[in-house]
Symmetry: C2
Subunit: 216 residues, 2 copies
DNA sequence: CGCTTCGTTGAACTGGGTCAACGCGTGTGG
DNA sequence: CCACACGCGTTGACCCAGTTCAACGAAGCG
C-alpha cells in the first residue's frame, strides 16, 4: 500500500497491456477478470492465461522490456497501476516482498505447464472440464463463494481460444457435460453441479495451483 | 560460486526431480539436456519444458514444497546440486541475485506461454518447425556453434510428447520438412539447412525467449 | 425495433490418431 | 563372434475427434 498507484477502469476487451508496447506500469486487478493472449501467424488466437482479482497482471511484461503478448479485460475491471520503477525499487529493498513476487511468477509458470498438458494430451471434454474446475477453484480462493463461483463472463469463443478448440466444439462439449448432470446453465453462465465428478472427468489435481504456499 | 554444491552425474532418463517428492536441492545443469514432464490421467505424457546447460532446473520445485511434476535427463548430464536453504538465503540477502532468479522464472513462464500457443493453435508442421527453431536458438545462446546446434538427443516419441502429437505423425512431419529442403537428417540427428525459411514456416518470433535481458 | 453479438445445430470434411507390420543398428550374453 | 532382443525409426491403411461451413435463433443495446 505504500507504493504509488493510480486507479483505472476498463471496459470489456480493453487493453491492460498491448503487445509490442513497453510497459511502464504493473497492474493489479482489483475487480473483474482479464486474459493474456497471443496471436499466431495465421491470425489464430490463443488465450494463455486467465487473471482473477488480486492478480498482479504485469510483473511479467514490466520486467521484460517489450511485451510479447497482450492482456485484455474479460469483464469491466478496475485496477491499480503501479509505476514499474517503484515496483522494482521495493523489490530491491525488501527481500520478503521480492520473494513474494518471485513466488507469484512461479505459480503463473506452474499453471502454464498444466495448461500445456491439458491442451497437449487431454481430449476436448476433459479440457473443458479442467478449465471449469480451475476457474471455480481460483475464484473461490479469492473470495467468491461457491455458488457464484462460475460467473466468469467468458464466451464460448473465448473458452475455445483458451483450450485450443473451436466455438462449435466447445458448445458440443458444454452440452455433453450438461447432459451428464455435471453442470447446469442459465443463459450465459455455467454452474457446477457435481464438482467431485467433474474433477474426475477433468483429471483435475489442484497441486499445480500451489494454494498452500501461505502455510509455509 | 560461493554457494555450497555437490556435483552429480545422471544417465539418460535419470530423475533430477521426481513428482511428489519434496525437493531439498536446486540443480544447475552443467552439461547435457533435461525435460520436464507431466503425466495425465490416462497415462499420456506431456513434456512441458526443455532445459539446456546453464539452466537452473529447480528454482521452481524447490520453492513450492512438493514437486507437481518430474524432471528427467534427456542425455547423460552433469549437474550441481545446491541446497534449497542456501539458495533462499542468498536470494534473501542479495537483491540483485534475487532479481536474477525472478527473471529466470519469468522467462520460463514466457516460454511456457509460447508453447501453449504453439500446441493450441498451430498445425503439426508448424509446431515441429517451431520446436526446432527454439532448440537451435537456445543451444546457440549457450555456446553450441551453429552447425552442431541440433545434436539434441531427442527421440521422435519425445518430440511428440513435447508437441502433443504421436510418434507416427512427428515422423511424417520430419519427412515433410526434409522433402522441402529445410532440414537434413543423419541417422538420429537433425540439422537445419535453411533457418530463415524454417522460421517462416514455424511462425517463429524470438521475442518470447527474452534473450536481450542482459543488455538492460 | 433493427443490429450486433453470441449461442445452436446439422452435414460434410480432414488432420492427425490408431493399428500393425517391418527394418535397422546397437548392445549383450552365451 | 554370432544370434538375438530391444529400442527406435518407417510405412501404409483405415478411422475418428474435432474442424469447417453455413444457417438460424435469441438476447441485449442504442
Amino acid at each position: 500500500m505504500a507504493l504509488p498507484f493510480t486507479l483505472k477502469e476498463l471496459d470489456p476487451s480493453g487493453y491492460l497491456v498491448r503487445q509490442g508496447e513497453r510497459a511502464e506500469f504493473t497492474c493489479v486487478l482489483l475487480s473483474g477478470f482479464a486474459y493474456r493472449q497471443k496471436i499466431v501467424g495465421d491470425g489464430g488466437r490463443q488465450i494463455v492465461a486467465l487473471q482473477v482479482p488480486g492478480d498482479a497482471v504485469d510483473l511479467q511484461n514490466s520486467l521484460l522490456k517489450i511485451a510479447d503478448h497482450s492482456v485484455q479485460a474479460l469483464s469491466a475491471i478496475t485496477m491499480a497501476r503501479i509505476p514499474r520503477k517503484a515496483l522494482l525499487e521495493i523489490a530491491a529493498t525488501h527481500p520478503r516482498i521480492a520473494h513474494a513476487f518471485w513466488l507469484d511468477t512461479l505459480v503463473d509458470g506452474s499453471i502454464a505447464w498444466e495448461w500445456i498438458a491439458n491442451i497437449g494430451r487431454r481430449d476436448a471434454l476433459m479440457r473443458l472440464a479442467h478449465l471449469l474446475c480451475e476457474i471455480a477453484l481460483r475464484l473461490e480462493v479469492v473470495g467468491f463463494h461457491e455458488g457464484e463461483a462460475h460467473k466468469l463472463p467468458m464466451t464460448q469463443e473465448q473458452m475455445g481460444d483458451a483450450l485450443g478448440l473451436t466455438t462449435v466444439h466447445v458448445h458440443r462439449m458444454i452440452k455433453q457435460l450438461e447432459r451428464s448432470g455435471l453442470i447446469v446453465r442459465d443463459k450465459r453462465t455455467i454452474a457446477i453441479l457435481d464438482e467431485h465428478r467433474l474433477r474426475e472427468v477433468a483429471d483435475f489435481q489442484r497441486a499445480y495451483l500451489h494454494l498452500n504456499l501461505l502455510d509455509d
